[in-house]
Amino acid sequence: MKLSFTLNHKALTLETDPDRRVIDLLREDLCLTGTKEACGEGECGACTIRVNKELRLACLMIAAQIEGCFIETIEGLAGPDQALHPVQEAFVQAGAVQCGFCTPGMVMAVTDLLETIPNPDDTRIRKALSGNLCRCTGYQKIMDAARLAAKKENKCLP
């Protein structure tokens, strides 16, 4: 099918099978390998993307579902000149990255959380991360990163 959607703020039209998994479309066809696959069945959150500003799992979506949608992946988060998004910056500073395979999904989850709730408490942060598995960090520094990012973003508010 002919598929049109917006990917990381750029309009895109391409030819693909309607049942192509979105994760394969992103990783294999569009070379956006920042979105990771770690379970293929919606359990781990490594393939977290945003579709129309809502968190979705790219391994559970097929191409036809994103027709006309506004898609954001980890590659679209940084600003012009690859300036890090405050959440990305916080992950680096807080030491929230170890092997890094869960990181893109985690960053997407925290970004989405802070856009919805700018000042989340710890319980809210833990809940927001509960769909994303990490096997390296024990989540503590990812929590730290989320708190740090909230602080940074709130400072930017008028």
Binding site: K36, T73, E89, F101, V107, L129, G138
Partner: protein, 779 residues
């Protein structure tokens, strides 16, 4: 924002990891992320039966699937078709006997992943079923079918005994004896990046990009298994998406090599699904362990008996070495003058038992540390006090007979833990338990040896280059699977050379570019390579300052000092850009290479050469003392670990933030081992084949962790450090177990993990009066 590049790397400082930048942006290219513009997919047909003799494999129907390029079976393998770290007992493609459900029977190469899947489903095979062996007891029964008929030990891969002092006779001299037995489950690594890679065979040369902990060993092992000269095989190891021991050895390498050689000139990708990963990768060994601990009335430990059985599955992998480390560490960080420690690693038709962070120590610590608490209770001593009373000091022997010759900080760890608010306030906290809740505090200790032991050289070769641009490039061959050894190498070199991160580069492990460094395992990565790197840096400094001195015709190299990007001539204040100096040097002169071999013990702990070969004894040990606060919901059996503290002696910290990363991650994995992770099989078949049935901890399951380091100097370590990658997980399960026992009046479980169901069962069993022998509520 420039987060990192202008920073001057200092040893001892918490500094952000440069690798985090690409990782947060999604730009880091893991092995999973290699896609050629055109590529093929390879996949293995798995046996799905636990034990049988293979008669034939039918591939005709599968070959008809459009897009299928090749289907290979064992007849296509030119090499030995055998792999394994110690014993080469695992076929790449089964040629005779199927020994577990995860064995590979055929290899399909196809143009698309859909064609691959369709073809794999159409492969069938004929076999003669053999009786399966699923427990150690079945394996050792007289007349049991032999899993490796040629193995001299029958179904026993390795057995051994370490006896010290009077051995078991010393129990007669004890005033108090406690016994404890425990059955521990398999644990799956569940790294986020499943086993994967991409290979290409061009002009007679094979190149494999792979998610691995062991690129150099992979090269040798794969080459002989598939029949290619090691010189024609290059293994490239990008940042690895988690390893924890599960990628210590061959996973996809040989299969990918065969696939690429069968379809030359085009990259071939392989990526195991989560289920295939669970099925075919090694696990932490399931173990059944029995302990007897004897003490004098004053609480001084006197005698120890250990019997430990490890289910090593169908192949050696590293099962013998895991047993060796378990035996050596069985008595924990305590003086016990008389001990008889015996164990067996036994072949079965279950999943493969192999390396997993801790490497046998979490299993024995689980039993030992609960026995210690039982003894404390029996003698009415505080758990911390009885540990302090018996804790080793430098010069002591641990019960296995190993002399502790290097820094030994368990007493410092215990002293620090005793002062911790979580310890001091434990009773008050317990009393404040809400309705229907029980609260308790428990602790546990561990020690963990570093490196390969006395027989396998623990070496690393560091290569350092001053580039023409005047930057320093570190070639390291020991994989960074997330532990951050890459950044510690930058910190060490940057500190010694006084260069900012922007003047430093890393070349990741690659058998074509870097030099052999051994495995990323055994808590030795930073220690061994770090020592090699320091020597390479020192040689480089002398060479560069002497060259500068020569070119100025001044006295000596020590008139110069390194500053970022430059050498400063101190008497005149003139500064020379490093790029200018590089231009004066030949390519050979711009490179220094240094090899380091870690110290190996000369002590004769056992005359059993098999045990020596499997790593006994070690020389350098790290130590830790952990404390857990748990809350048990008496209505549901749910256990919440509310707070956790750990004090560790892992030498001086190169980067305190990385130390905390290791500790936090290890504790989280240990909590999973204690409470959630139940790898269930039925006659070798997986019942927990995915992450919705095999439960690893999520963000809601992990308590705040208070961590500290006693910061002792380890004189043999680079900048005084010792390894921390494994000790972090060793005592977590028994700390939780002892906290649960404290909460519920002594209830203990035999079969782990301690799920809600098991906890509820414990709560329904009436509690015996304090001081009774044995596990009071074994279930």
């Amino acid at each position: 924002m420039n987060l990192i590049s202008k920073t001057s790397p200092s040893v001892g400082a918490s500094q952000a990891r440069p690798d985090a930048l690409n990782k947060v942006m999604g730009h880091e290219k893991f092995a999973a992320d290699y896609y050629g513009p055109r590529h093929l997919w390879a996949g293995a047909k798995r046996a799905g039966i636990p034990h049988g003799r293979l008669i034939s494999v039918s591939t005709e129907a599968a070959a008809q699937v459009p897009g299928v390029k090749k289907i290979l079976t064992y007849t296509d393998v030119k090499g030995s078709n055998r792999q394994g770290v110690i014993q080469k007992d695992q076929p790449v493609l089964v040629d005779d006997r199927i020994r577990h459900c995860g064995d590979a029977l055929a290899l399909v190469i196809a143009e698309t992943s859909q064609a691959l899947e369709a073809a794999l489903a159409l492969i069938s095979f004929e076999y003669e079923a053999l009786p399966g062996i699923f427990t150690v007891a079945e394996a050792l029964k007289d007349g049991a079918p032999l899993i490796h008929p040629a193995h001299p030990g029958g179904n026993c891969l390795l057995s051994g005994q370490l006896v010290s002092g009077k051995g078991l006779e010393a129990f007669e001299e004890c005033d108090a004896v406690v016994e404890y037995a425990v059955d521990l489950p398999r644990q799956e690594h569940a790294y986020l990046e499943t086993e994967c890679g991409e290979a290409v065979y061009e002009k007679g040369e094979l190149s494999i990009v792979v998610s691995t902990q062991t690129p150099f060993r992979d090269r040798a092992e794969t080459a002989q298994a598939i029949g290619i000269s090691p010189e024609k095989l290059r293994i490239i190891a990008p940042y690895c998406g988690g390893g924890f021991g599960g990628k210590d050895g061959i996973t996809v390498q040989s299969l990918l090599g065969l696939a690429a050689m069968a379809c030359p000139d085009i990259p071939v990708k392989m990526m195991w699904s989560r289920e295939e990963s669970f099925l075919s990768s090694p696990k932490r060994h399931a173990a059944s362990i029995h302990y007897r601990l004897g003490a004098k009335q004053n609480g001084v430990f006197h005698a120890l008996e250990v019997r430990a059985d490890f289910d090593t599955g169908p192949y050696d992998h590293l099962g013998g070495a895991v047993l060796g480390l378990a035996l050596e560490h069985a008595g924990g960080p305590y003086r016990i003058p008389h001990a008889a420690i015996q164990g067996r690693a036994v072949y079965t038709n279950n999943t493969i038992g192999g390396a997993f962070r801790g490497f046998g120590v979490p299993q024995v610590a689980a039993a030992m540390e609960q026995a210690v608490d039982l003894m404390a209770e029996k003698l009415s001593l505080a758990p911390l006090d009885i540990r302090m009373k018996n804790a080793v000091q430098k010069g002591d022997k641990i019960p296995s007979g190993t002399t502790l010759k290097t820094s030994t900080g368990i007493r410092e760890c215990l002293a620090r833990l005793k002062a911790h608010p979580l310890y001091q306030e434990a009773d008050a906290w317990k009393k404040k338990a809400p309705a229907h809740m029980l609260r308790g505090t428990g602790m546990a200790c561990a020690l963990h040896g570093m490196g390969y032991g006395p027989f396998v050289p623990d070496t690393a070769i560091a290569k350092l280059e001053l580039t023409k641009q005047g930057r320093f490039r570190i070639y390291f061959g020991v994989v960074d699977m997330g532990q951050g050894n890459g950044v510690t190498f930058l910190q060490m070199a940057g500190d010694l050379l006084n260069q900012n991160y922007e003047n430093l580069e890393l070349v990741l492990p690659d058998t074509g570019l870097t030099l052999p460094c051994g495995s990323a395992s055994a808590s030795r990565s930073t220690y061994t390579f770090g020592n090699a790197l320091i020597q390479a840096v020192e040689t480089m400094k002398i060479r560069l300052t002497q060259k500068a001195a020569d070119s100025l015709m001044v006295g000596d190299g020590d008139e110069f000092c390194f500053i970022p990007g430059h050498l400063r001539h101190l008497p005149t204040g003139r500064e020379f850009p490093l790029a200018q100096l590089a231009a004066l040097l030949s390519q050979e002169e711009r490179i220094t290479i240094s090899r380091y071999r870690a110290p190996a013990s000369k002590e004769t702990v056992t005359k059993d050469t098999a045990l020596q070969m499997h790593g006994i004894p070690h020389t350098v040990f790290s130590y830790t003392a952990h404390l857990a606060h748990v809350e048990i919901d008496t209505l549901t059996g749910g256990i919440t670990v509310c707070n956790y503290a750990a004090v560790t002696d892992c030498g001086r910290l190169i980067n305190p933030d990385l130390y905390r990363q290791q500790m936090q991650g290890g504790i989280a994995q240990g909590l999973g081992y204690a409470l959630y992770e139940d790898f269930i099989t039925d006659k070798g078949r997986l019942l927990t084949a995915n992450l919705s049935t095999y439960i690893i901890p999520g963000a809601l399951d992990i308590p705040p962790m208070a961590l500290s380091s006693v910061d002792l100097q380890e004189n043999t370590g680079p900048f005084g450090m010792k390894g921390v990658g494994e000790i972090c997980i060793d005592p977590v399960l028994p700390a939780v177990a002892n906290a649960v026992a404290d909460a519920c009046g002594g209830g203990r479980c035999r079969q782990w993990p301690l799920t809600c169901e098991r906890m509820l069962e414990i709560l329904t069993i009436p509690v015996c009066p304090p001081g009774a022998d044995m596990n009071r509520s074994l279930i």
